[in-house]
């Protein structure tokens, strides 16, 4: 297909091309056939811009061999629709539904057109991301019913769970259809923590939006802030100093370690092994306290900023981090031994919640869960942005696709990240922490793409007048992986659901946004 690709400046390997309606579908087909992945799908209202009169844009970002390929389709106001790609990329189904809820542009030919993010907070026919949307004219919040798929048959009954769950976790609704204690079908309904983040970005400047991006999913604050910073630097033409890049990688690996420590404890706990929770949460607390002592924030929020980082570390702190990483490594190896030899624990982990590599590939499972199901992609190794090129990240992977595989990938990545922390601390050059930012040119576009602990965080920004953000879209990898949990639980027993769900540990806030 003959498209004119424009390479975007900056750290993320991103190219962009305009497509027509026929090419939109053709591009999706070619990516699918070439083994590529859909990373994100979103839209923007450009009707008020003189050069784009009466037009919206719909974007799809694909991971291909050379990096990230973004195609942009212009859509007329008179017929706001675009061709459905959910047949090629099943993960796009919910993204397309969300795009319609927010912008009023539908995927023509899509089988499922139920609302996804619109639960009743805004009425049908009103679209928050349109430029002429007026929140002050909204009717009172209404509670709309949702058309769940019913499973019929002898002895089938339903268990509705949520939105408020029994544990300390985010809200979402799960509708189980079961026979006895065996799950026949699970249907998820999400969107409960939709906070209107994409719209909220419009009241931030490009230079300041990293704070909001860092709260798309709090557990991935570094990943999102870095993806945002990449996007902002790309559109501003700013180049972060070398030292800042190394500190960013350090923060990202620290975030990965903190989350993996927490998840490993919680996974043990969900298999009734409370010892694991106590031990790993102790290690995580030590880790977070060190983050607070060195960088001023336990969860490392607001440290990655467009143009660099807000905080570095000195030689004493470097030594402290190296020493601590060795200590955690020693304990993690000890605990891994205990996990491995614990028959009861392995019995709960093995073959539970399987996603086969074939299914993972077809449905587009990504990130950590993808790697546990034979999908060997990790941006840090595949498209190493500085400093990852020098660090030579060893990709973790497994093929079994069960809870045990996701536990093992976490152990492998935990140990690798501890190694990376030491390598980064040793390799971080001296120099400035951030550069001054030029003012954003209206219409400028940038994108960022970072491998967070859960998977790839993606951010696209379009600048508006006066340095403001006109449109910013943040995409969490949970979008891709949520639908796979519906498959992973099939045939398992209901009491294993929390364990299976935890083994993916997807973000509700990130997908609801």
């Amino acid at each position: 297909m003959n498209l004119s690709w424009k390479k975007l400046p900056g750290d993320a390997p991103v190219a962009m091309a305009a497509v027509g309606e026929w090419q939109w579908t053709e591009a999706a087909r070619l990516v699918r056939e070439g083994g590529g992945r859909l990373v994100a799908l979103w839209g923007a209202d450009h009707r008020d811009l003189a050069e784009d009169e009466d037009e919206y844009s719909v974007y799809a970002a694909y991971a291909v061999k050379d990096g990230l390929a973004i195609v942009e389709l212009l859509v007329q106001d008179s017929a706001p629709s675009y061709p459905d790609i959910s047949g090629l990329f099943p993960a796009s189904g919910r993204m397309q539904r969300a795009l319609f809820d927010l912008l009023g542009i539908g995927a023509s030919g899509a089988a499922d057109a139920r609302p996804w993010l619109r639960h009743g907070a805004w009425p049908e026919g009103t679209f928050p991301l349109r430029r002429d949307f007026d929140a002050s004219k909204l009717p009172p919040n209404a509670h709309a019913d949702y058309d769940f798929v019913r499973v019929e048959g002898d002895g089938v009954h339903e268990i509705p769970v949520g939105p408020i769950h029994a544990g300390i976790i985010e809200p979402g609704h799960f509708r189980f259809s079961i026979v006895g204690e065996k799950v026949l079908r699970l249907e998820e309904r999400l969107g409960y923590v939709h906070k209107g983040i994409d719209k909220r970005f419009e009241s931030f400047t490009v230079a300041d939006g990293h704070r909001l991006a860092g709260r798309v999913s709090g557990d991935s604050t570094v990943a999102f802030a870095w993806a945002y910073a990449q996007a902002a630097e790309s559109l501003l033409g700013a180049v972060p100093p070398a030292r800042a890049r190394w500190v960013r990688a350090l923060l990202l690996e620290r975030e990965r370690i903190a989350n993996h420590l927490g998840d490993l404890g919680a996974l043990g706990n969900d298999a009734a092994f409370a010892f694991a929770l106590a031990q790993f949460m102790r290690l995580k607390e030590d880790w977070l306290r060190e983050s607070a002592a060195i960088f001023g924030h336990r969860m490392l929020m607001d440290l990655v900023v467009p143009g660099g980082v807000a905080h570095g570390f000195d030689a004493g702190e470097a030594a402290r981090m190296v020493e601590h990483s060795h200590a955690i490594e020693k304990e993690a190896l000890e605990l891994r031994g205990i996990f491995d030899e614990h028959a009861g624990l392995q019995d709960r982990f093995l073959t539970t919640g399987r996603v086969t590599p074939d299914l993972a590939r077809k449905l587009g499972l990504t990130g950590l869960a993808g790697r546990a199901s034979g999908q060997a992609s990790d941006l840090r190794a595949d498209f190493p942005a500085a400093p990852y090129g020098e660090l030579k990240v060893r990709k973790a992977g497994a093929a079994a696709g069960d809870v045990a595989a996701r536990v093992n990938v976490r152990f492998d990545e935990l140990l690798e990240s501890l190694r990376l922390v030491r390598a980064i601390v040793a390799g971080t050059p001296e120099g400035e922490l951030r550069v001054e930012l030029p003012k954003a040119r209206p219409g400028a576009f940038g994108a960022g793409w970072v491998e967070g602990w859960r998977g790839e965080a993606f951010v696209a920004i379009e600048a508006g007048e006066g340095g403001m953000i006109r449109r910013c879209h943040a995409h969490d990898p949970s979008w891709q992986n949520w639908p796979l949990i519906e498959h992973a639980v099939m045939g398992n027993i209901v009491p294993d659901f929390p364990l299976i769900n935890k083994s993916f540990n997807l973000s509700y806030s990130g997908q609801d946004c």
Binding site: A166, G218, K284, D512
Partner: protein, 175 residues
């Protein structure tokens, strides 16, 4: 088994001292009699409700359950249903899509009940504010007794907020 016991013995007891209550965090005058608070303070059941948070506050509430804070040693535990709870611990700006669920959870919690709003978002709406999708602070939807600022507040600050809520006014500061 030996490995597990050895690891437990090696770790020892890491629990730290609990913080003292802070009257500054109180949003409204105590609605519950001092005697009842004395009773609740010794055995407090909390139902946590994420009404729209970014999940940062949830991570810190989770951390409260780690051995350093020894929550259960203080008589505090998290329960699975608001019907079993004395207190709702609410995070997030209240997403419009969670407004209904939060109200239902509040009504399901038996009287006398306490509400602690956690995090900048729960206190003021935070970075998300009020919008087509967000009701803003928790107090805009249900009554709040104590609000704990921070983005996210550290576990110790959350614990301090919880303890403030179960302390009758005047108890704090040794009066």
């Amino acid at each position: 088994m030996l490995h597990i016991l050895r690891q437990i013995a090696r770790t020892g007891i890491v629990s730290e001292k609990a913080p003292v209550p802070d009257e500054e965090l109180r949003v409204r005058a105590p609605q519950i009699q001092a005697e009842i608070l004395q009773l609740l303070g010794r055995a407090l059941a909390i139902r946590q409700v994420d009404a729209g948070s970014c999940n940062g506050c949830e991570l810190e509430i989770h951390a409260l359950n780690n051995p350093y804070y020894n929550l259960e040693g203080l008589g505090i535990r998290f329960v699975a249903s608001p019907r079993h709870a004395d207190m709702l611990l609410v995070t997030g700006p209240v997403a419009k899509n969670m407004e209904n669920a939060l109200r239902i959870a509040y009504e399901a919690t038996p009287d006398p009940k306490l509400v602690v709003a956690v995090g900048d978002c729960g206190c003021t709406g935070g970075i998300f504010g009020e919008s087509y999708a967000s009701c803003g602070k928790v107090e805009n939807v249900i009554p709040v007794d104590v609000a704990v600022p921070g983005c996210p507040p550290a576990p110790l600050a959350i614990l301090q907020g919880i303890l403030t809520a179960v302390t009758a006014r005047g108890d704090a500061g040794g009066r």
